[in-house]
Symmetry: C2
Subunit: 111 residues, 2 copies
Amino acid sequence: MESKLALSQLSALAQENRLAVFRLLVKAGHDGLPAGDIAAALGVPPNTLSSQLNILSNAGLVEGNRQGRSIIYTANYDAISGLIVFLMEDCCQGREEVCSPVMAAAQSACC
Amino acid sequence: MESKLALSQLSALAQENRLAVFRLLVKAGHDGLPAGDIAAALGVPPNTLSSQLNILSNAGLVEGNRQGRSIIYTANYDAISGLIVFLMEDCCQGREEVCSPVMAAAQSACC
DNA sequence: TCCATATTTCCACGATACTGGAAATATGGA
DNA sequence: TCCATATTTCCAGTATCGTGGAAATATGGA
């Protein structure tokens, strides 16, 4: 049952603050951001953010590495692309109606 | 802020039963399935299923149309592909790391 | 060693979600 | 009209989630 992971990832992203955190980390790129900066950017107390980061981290969507006093969080691109592929293949069974618009978007967005 | 819809869709899919309902409806194709059959397939009481269908429906992921005594539910392919595109473009900013695997999956899955 | 900084863990409160019983609504057939 | 079927709405109980104060932990520097 591979959908257990997908479920935890959907769950993690299905919340305003956490989606915002993830988007911020994507924008930040491979360098990532320290937890404190994320908290400041979102206007959330550090302990609250910490539990949200923990949920994203358990879902494999972000990763944290200590660097000095800070912990630098980065988005996990493999995880999000895995989720997207799950939605396309396992969930939607590669249906043409789903695939085609995604393909078009992929082409115009980056590929 | 277009992400409000995406959030409600992520939320709707972030639950075991509802994800199962959606997958079942995708498998059922354009003919869809009556609510009763879905409830039976998942082993969920009809009123419980009804509220779950309602959540999926409010998120635009499924649609119900009365046909005689039954209400036939169908998956909304536009909605799910819209969500996938949102994750790729708005959320992940068309990053190559996200796009490429999705592109590859799309190619092998259907296109 | 002592202190400041960065983050997490512990804990509890309020809010929201999931579930299913009971009753209501809608449809079709006798 | 009356009844059976299909589904929804109403409602309440339990569980899970989101939040943030207070304390704990980890690191680096003086």
